[in-house]
């Protein structure tokens, strides 16, 4: 299958190893990965902040970069960006009165998947340890991000994949379904409320005794990781794609330069 990778702006610029892990997993399954070089961002930050006029060229760029006939499916290691592509792009195009863009955006949206969605629903991966050789001998907890959980209805796909990784110990996160408080520019505009939400999330994560908190959205993980780092916590964050990409022969290096905090026992 020819799979177009949508790296997302934050992963491209800040967490390249998450995108590399995504490529690794898909290539390990025997698929061809392409990277449409015109891609930049889904425009979610503009849309969710109310800057619709400014969002339009960003959305138009994404639609053009991912014109639906160039690949079989597109994938992104991010629930919220995929939710934006699927749900927000057609709405924005309609709001701006561009019916042609709306139709093209719908076509792109229909072929765009979040990573766990693609792995489970399309590629039939249910046991990462067996099918991907994933091995990660650490205690991990898992935060389901809001847009993956509620806009994409991912259910337990990410969690189940994590649990099937060889050597892993997955600890339940109390109040897992509660928002971490990121919310894009919400974390700047309402920094106090956002911090209060983050504080509770961090406490719940630490109560599990896990050395890592995993999830499927780099932005939420940056927020949670940034808070844990500020309180000098021993726990840090790691995208589930990197855990799936980790094998016995090639264990993921979680002390890389872009990670916040020193992390747990590694």
């Amino acid at each position: 299958m020819k799979i177009a990778l949508f790296a997302t702006c934050i992963v491209d610029a800040m967490y390249p190893q998450t995108a590399r892990a995504t490529v690794k997993i898909l290539e390990r399954l025997g698929h061809e990965v392409i990277f449409p070089s015109g891609q930049a961002c889904c425009g979610q930050m503009h849309i969710n902040s109310g800057y619709m006029d400014e969002a339009l060229p960003v959305v138009a760029n994404h639609v053009q970069a991912f014109e639906a006939d160039a690949y079989d499916v597109a994938v992104a290691p991010s629930g919220s960006c995929v939710a934006s592509v699927k749900h927000q792009h057609p709405i924005l195009a309609e709001r701006c009165g561009d019916a042609a863009l709306k139709a093209r955006a719908e076509a792109v949206g229909a072929k765009t998947y979040e990573l766990s969605q693609l792995l489970v629903d399309v590629l039939g991966v249910t046991n990462a340890g067996e099918q991907l050789g994933s091995h990660f001998p650490h205690k991990v907890t898992y935060h389901p991000s809001c847009h993956g959980m509620r806009s994409l209805n991912l259910g337990d796909r990410q969690l189940d994949l994590l649990k099937s990784v060889g050597g892993i110990e997955v600890a339940d996160l109390p109040e897992a379904d509660q928002c971490c408080g990121f919310g894009g520019t919400f974390s700047m505009k309402n920094a106090d409320v956002s911090s209060a939400m983050l504080e509770d999330k961090a406490k719940n994560i630490e109560s599990t005794g896990a050395s890592l908190c995993s999830g499927g959205d780099a932005s939420c993980l940056m927020h949670i990781g940034g808070g844990l780092s500020r309180t000098k916590s021993n726990t840090t964050t790691l995208h589930f794609a990197e855990i799936l990409a980790s094998t016995m022969a090639e264990p993921v290096s979680v002390t890389g330069e872009v990670f916040v905090g020193k992390g747990g026992k590694r």
Binding site: P16, A40, Q178, T185, N190, D192, S195, G226, V258
Partner: protein, 501 residues
Amino acid sequence: MSGVFMGMPSLPVFGDGNLHIDEPFPAAAHRELGNTQMRANLRHATHTIRDKRIKVVGELPDWEELRDAGAATKNQVMANLPALLEEFEKNFTARGGIIHWARDADEANRIVSDLIKEQDTTEVVKVKSMATQEIGLNEYLEEQGISAFETDLAELIVQLGHDKPSHILVPAIHKNRTEVRDIFLAEMPNVDPNLTDEPRLLAMAAREHLRRKFLSAKVAVSGANFALADSGTLAVVESEGNGRMCLTLPETLITVMGIEKLLPAKEDLEVFMQLLPRSSTGERMNPYTSLWTGVTEGDGPQNVHLVMLDNGRTAALADKYGRTALNCIRCSACMNVCPVYERTGGHAYGSTYPGPIGAILSPLLTGIKSEENSSLPYASSLCGACFDACPVKINIPEILVHLRGEDVDSRRGEKKLPSQMDLMMKGAQWAFSSGKNLGLLEKGLPLGKLAAGQDKKIKRLPGIAAGWTQSRDIPAPPSQSFRDWWKKEHQSEATTMKQEK
């Protein structure tokens, strides 16, 4: 011809009253976040109701279908509102009720006040009503020398405590029982000085206090949960029975209701009487449901009035993306699941309607340009918990985003210096509008490392981004973007392939 336009005076389009926040939400939230007792009370109460709701909702195999039915009925009501209002008026009037139409808060207050004065009394009892909260009726009546006694227990606590409600269903949610006892001891006449904070004793003290009011009041003021167009019937659902006392004992009953509360027919109650109690209090059924249709000679109130309130509702109805906010049945499920509400409480929203529904309803009713209300649509992380919980499927996150767009658009073209947010969004528009631009920007990533300390963390950012670094670090950016890594990898592949040829 005169240059002055002599046509109709302009009508108030938007609503007024207790719908306005006085200071921007972030400032109000900052203050409320500092009240740790309130935060602890709220967390306890919202989590308790949340768990109860999930349990009783889970008992119904057709919950999703019920939500769909509720949403469909309400959408139908909004699409046919003028006709349904006329049908309701005809039936209500035919059964001996009198209808008054109020365009805004001021008109509604005057109508109610005049009706009370006609009865030659200066005391009325009230059953909890969001509409009268919205128009500030109690304060207005006080100015007219009329005392309005709240009879809903929680509303009574708020009134005696000279406080404002913090929740639409549990107005005293921010108070614990010790605080309630202290209010009763200080403010309730003839209360037992040895009153403890045992809930039963608190309820008994309130009961004794209220009984005296019920038996003496000539006029009652109520709200309504539903109005049935096919019969002209009004309905109130409640937990304590105090509402029923108000609805049946006094000679005169004045109901104030928003025009959006209509349901086409009594059969529709089947759906809503399942949706409402489960969503609001986590009960399968509320203890008291009162329905009344006009006047029955010798039984119950003999003067039955209804004030139909617009106060911005037709303006909200005209908003293509926001109109479904009027589907709201005031169950408060969205408040109980909202992480923002849980931490700030209702007072931070500055309106009769707090929480997620308030963050869309208040600006819709008053217009996005009104005072500080434009800060309300941003009072959400867009986590979507409210949409999941809403029994009539109001897509609150989507309406929040729409209103943010309205807010930003309303400021376009103003001859003001662009805000930091405006500049940031313009810059990001450039960066995100092409892969080439973003790639160019990413070449500067190594520079970000300079901003980070030895521990590879950025700990302080300037301007609006300072909010982020008040409680969070940012990792130092990598030396190479994924885009560049990919290019290099595939270039070398291409080179190898060339060499092999």
